[in-house]
């Protein structure tokens, strides 16, 4: 117990008025200067940093966490259309097709001019990454059978700190981080940006708190906001999310810092309620967990009354399964029998979970994960030898669940889904005991909207006028979506992060000259 700072009322009264009413800031004020200050050192902020240095700007990056990378640490690949590797393989994803796909998916609610900039830049960004040392391992899909746009990043050969995870997007982060530091950029970790400085209608700097708790003022000709959304801000989630309890994955300290700063500086809102809905699952389970990997196979999912509610195969495009689950209140149960379990464990899974659990992976760790959770009796997983008993454990009317199971078994037998028109390869009976159930809740990989920007990524006000000197990128910016996250073209979030970061840096560099 530390007492040196304790003050009695009498002692406080003795304190001079200036201290009592002043901000009573602790430690020394520091002042720094840069051409461009970037708030947030995730994928988007670092991409902006590299580009800004290449444009000849003096760059300061403020990162709240102890490490750079943000949620970008957990992704694998980046969207592009008409990249060299796509053309070489013979993948026919034209810019026109990509643009139309994104705009149609959004019902043309997206910012058409911004989407065009991102699509047009995407292929050149793959060349830009290549020149920096970020290589592409292969080009994959968002959802199985979809357009090949997801440029999955290959392991790096040479990262000096020997980061054991020098692959996927972490490779890109490692390369960006090193490039910035090697080329005169400054990155301050554990130094959150706290506000924007506005003078005569222009943004001319930012304030921050360093790791010692000292206030910092950074004079700057332009500021790029890249703080990664608001997934951890409970108040904002309550106000904007379709359900505030959607389980976040890979989100730490995403308090909406940058979005709030930009709004305060006069920027308008856009797409704030769009969430990156992920495959449903349970809190506390890793994206590669094998019990969840089996539960999200598209077989037989029921609502809390025991009724099927969706084409389970919609999970191949996760936002679809997230939307369907939110519609019924956010609780469902995935039920499978022992034959399905055995097939997944001994022969491997049918539907891949991105790069986390590959198609054909034998779920040899299923048993450990399932039994560990079953023993906890938290109401997340269940096991029974009859459908009636399972229904009772799940609090369902046994007749209702039995009816749903019988229907599913009929569809599996006839190879035709008479209810939700599911692709026949995913029709499997629920017939061989024991039966297993896993609760499914909605999960998300972050928020995808906040600040309205234009095609230069400048923050704009309600009238559409740019706020000079203020750029907003990555998941702090709205404009790429209608009401839902778009997984039709894989790598979209990272594609927007990197391309919007580069676009911001190019425009900011012109602005500061």
């Amino acid at each position: 117990m530390k007492t040196s700072w304790k003050m009695s009322l009498a002692a406080m009264l003795a304190v001079p008025a200036v201290m009592a009413f002043g901000s009573l800031s602790f430690g020394a004020e520091k002042t720094m200067e840069s051409d461009i200050t970037i708030i947030g050192g995730g994928t988007s902020g670092l991409a902006a940093g590299v580009q800004a240095i290449q444009e000849g700007a003096k760059v300061i990056i403020l990162e709240k966490q102890a490490k750079v990378g943000g949620t970008g640490q957990f992704c694998e690949g980046i969207f592009a259309a008409e990249s060299k590797i796509q053309k070489r393989i013979g993948i026919n994803v034209s810019k026109e097709f990509a643009y139309k796909t994104i705009m149609d998916y959004s019902h043309w609610k997206a910012n058409g001019a911004l989407v065009a900039q991102v699509v047009d830049k995407s292929a050149e960004t793959i060349d830009w990454l290549d020149a920096l040392g970020v290589k592409i391992e292969y080009v994959g899909v968002g959802g199985f059978g979809g357009p090949l746009t997801w440029h999955v990043i290959a392991p790096g050969p040479d990262y000096p700190d020997k980061d054991p995870k020098d692959y996927h997007c972490q490779r890109m982060i490692n390369v960006f981080n090193k490039y910035i530091l090697d080329n005169g950029g400054q990155i301050y970790t554990q130094t959150p940006g706290t506000g924007l400085i506005k003078e005569d209608g222009k943004v001319v700097g930012a304030t921050a708190t360093d790791k010692e708790g000292n206030a910092i003022t950074i004079k700057s000709k332009a500021v790029i906001v890249a703080t990664g959304g608001f997934a951890n801000n409970k108040e904002m989630m309550k106000q904007y999310a379709p359900d505030p309890d959607i389980i976040p994955v890979g989100q730490i300290g995403k308090d909406g810092d940058g979005i709030k700063m930009a709004w305060k500086a006069g920027a308008a809102e856009e797409g704030v309620s769009v969430m990156q809905l992920y495959r449903p699952g349970l809190k506390g389970f890793h994206p590669a967990d094998q019990m969840i990997a089996l539960a999200v196979q598209p077989y037989f999912w029921v609502d809390p009354q025991g009724k099927r509610y969706t084409d389970e195969a919609s999970v191949q495009l996760w936002p679809y399964s997230g939307n369907a689950l939110l519609r019924i209140g956010g609780v469902a149960y995935s039920i499978y029998d022992d034959a399905t379990r055995k097939k997944a464990v001994e022969e491997g899974i049918e539907m891949p979970l991105g790069e986390w659990v590959l198609q054909g992976t034998k779920l040899t760790k299923w048993e450990d994960s399932f039994n560990k959770e079953l023993a906890k009796k938290k109401g997340n997983v269940f096991k029974a030898y009859t459908i009636e008993d399972l229904a009772k454990q799940l609090g369902m009317d046994p007749a209702a669940l039995k009816d749903s199971v019988e229907k599913m078994n009929t569809w599996a037998d006839s190879r035709h889904d008479g209810e939700f028109k599911k692709e026949s390869k995913f029709l499997r009976p629920v017939a061989t005991p024991p039966f297993y159930a896993t609760k499914l809740n909605p999960r998300h990989l972050g928020t995808l909207g906040g600040v309205r920007i234009n095609e230069k990524t400048e923050a704009v006000n309600e009238e559409g006028h740019a706020i000079p000197g203020l750029y907003v990128v990555g998941t702090d910016a709205g404009g790429m979506y209608g009401d839902s996250y778009d997984l039709l073209l894989g790598g979209g979030t990272v594609g927007f992060a990197v391309n919007s970061g580069r676009i911001a840096a190019e425009n900011a560099a012109k602005f500061v000259k």
Binding site: W5, M7, L9, F26, Q190, G213, G250, G284, K372
Partner: protein
């Protein structure tokens, strides 16, 4: 005189609003004042990790204190240490809270048994 009365009432208001926040978590019942963590009795923002480490030694020392006693080679999660993670030395306040319940940020993706104080 009028000025000092104003000052007095302002200070009383400030101390009233400050004490409106309850001290929960590990520091509950330890007679903490705002300034013990916030360095001021009229806090406007959260303390920093540095403020915590003024009493709690160092991140490394905390990592030592929370190191797992037994590591099961079959169970990767048994080797986890909340103060020595792949996220680096994340700020204390991501998990440890004083004015609201603490929460384990690792629990987004992992089913560890840790309970942050």
């Amino acid at each position: 005189m009028k000025k000092s009365l104003l000052l007095l009432s302002a200070l009383l208001l400030l101390s009233a609003s400050a004490s409106a926040e309850e001290i929960g978590g590990a520091h509950a019942g330890m007679d903490f004042s705002c300034a013990d963590c916030h360095q001021t009795d009229t806090p406007e923002k959260s303390p920093t990790t540095k403020n915590c480490l003024e009493c709690h030694d160092s991140y490394e020392a905390l990592a030592k204190a929370t190191a797992p006693e037994h590591i099961d080679p079959e169970d990767k999660e048994s080797a986890a240490n909340p103060h020595d993670s792949h996220m680096g030395p994340i700020d204390c306040f991501n998990c440890h809270k004083t004015h609201s319940p603490s929460e384990l940020v690792c629990a987004e993706c992992h089913s560890f048994e840790f309970e942050p104080k």
